[in-house]
């Protein structure tokens, strides 16, 4: 299990380095596809099977297809070696700081307060949306997708409806950006 985690994380790290350091744009895009697929596998290893499938379908299968289409349509030229200028220094500093913070947080443990929620202990499969503890076995019994759905459409209803507005805005933006200005 730890071996699996290590392999997946190593692959994700290598492919994300590939995104930054590839000379050709198409390799960067495909390395990003590999990175998000490895993230999907990480979700799977953390018992989030629905998110694993969603990440594959949406991120690796839709968003990255858009990226790859753009690379094919615009055919950007191969770049020179990445220059070691201010941006690179800022980037590397950012990575180091975030890694250090993650280590510290993982050692000390992160907790969040559930005082704002009025939850009870684990519900049953017929009542998946009044719980705020999600032990693995209970979730597996009730069904991973059903538990996610139970939370999403009751407790997190407002973000869900706002998402529809967000998608509408995106659609309008897409049409606007690609309008034929000769009209």
């Amino acid at each position: 299990m730890t071996v699996l985690f290590a392999v997946v994380i190593a692959l994700a790290a290598v492919s994300s380095l590939g995104v930054v350091f590839s000379r050709q744009t198409i390799y960067s895009a495909l390395s990003l596809v590999l990175t998000v697929s490895m993230l999907a596998v990480l979700f799977l290893l953390l018992n989030a099977q629905f998110l694993f499938a969603v990440q594959l379908i949406i991120y690796a299968g839709a968003v990255m297809v858009l990226f790859v289409f753009i690379v094919a349509l615009l055919s950007p030229d191969a770049e020179d070696r990445p220059a070691l200028d201010l941006r690179a220094v800022i980037g590397i500093t950012g990575v180091v700081v975030v890694t250090a913070l993650v280590f510290i947080a993982a050692r000390n443990g992160i907790t969040y307060s559930t005082n704002g929620f009025h939850g009870t202990v684990v519900g049953t499969a017929s009542d998946p949306y009044h719980t705020f503890n999600f032990p693995q076995d209970a979730v597996n019994n009730a069904g991973n997708v059903q538990t996610v759905a139970g939370q999403l459409f009751t407790n997190y209803l407002l973000p869900f409806e706002i998402t529809s507005m967000l998608l509408l805005v995106a659609a309008i933006g897409a049409v606007y950006l690609t309008r034929r200005s000769s009209r």
Binding site: L73, Q146, V148, L167, T178
Partner: protein, 118 residues
């Protein structure tokens, strides 16, 4: 639950091995007779003149963007579909609002002609 997925990893290895093996066997067994004509891409017999990397229609871009939007919609519909019976009327109303908003988007895109010729 995770152990249920382990066979997939194993099968994935088999599929990858099969794909690689097939190509490798072919490369090993097939004859190699290079010639300058064989190196050119096929264009019905004429010699290709310009590079293949040109610009193409923007409809591909629009299609991909709209696909993302409606794929996200479908990914919300899947979990809703699994608990429709528990959510009852409340569920229909909330999903109705969601689908209605996105139908407005689809109609807008349709009327603006972004779905045309591709």
């Amino acid at each position: 639950m995770l152990s249920g997925y382990a066979p997939i990893l194993f099968f994935f290895g088999i599929c990858a091995a099969f794909a690689v093996l097939a190509q490798f066997l072919n490369a090993a067994l097939g004859p190699k007779r290079p010639s300058p004509t064989k190196d050119l891409p096929y264009e019905s017999g004429i010699v290709p003149r310009e590079s293949a990397r040109r610009r193409f229609s923007v409809s591909f871009y629009v299609t991909a963007m709209l696909f993302i939007i409606f794929d996200v919609e479908s990914i919300f519909l899947f979990p809703w579909a699994t608990i429709v019976r528990e959510l009852k009327v409340f569920g229909i109303v909330e999903m109705g609002i969601f689908i209605a908003t996105l139908l407005v988007g689809l109609l807008y895109v349709w009327r603006k002609g972004a779905l045309r010729w591709d």
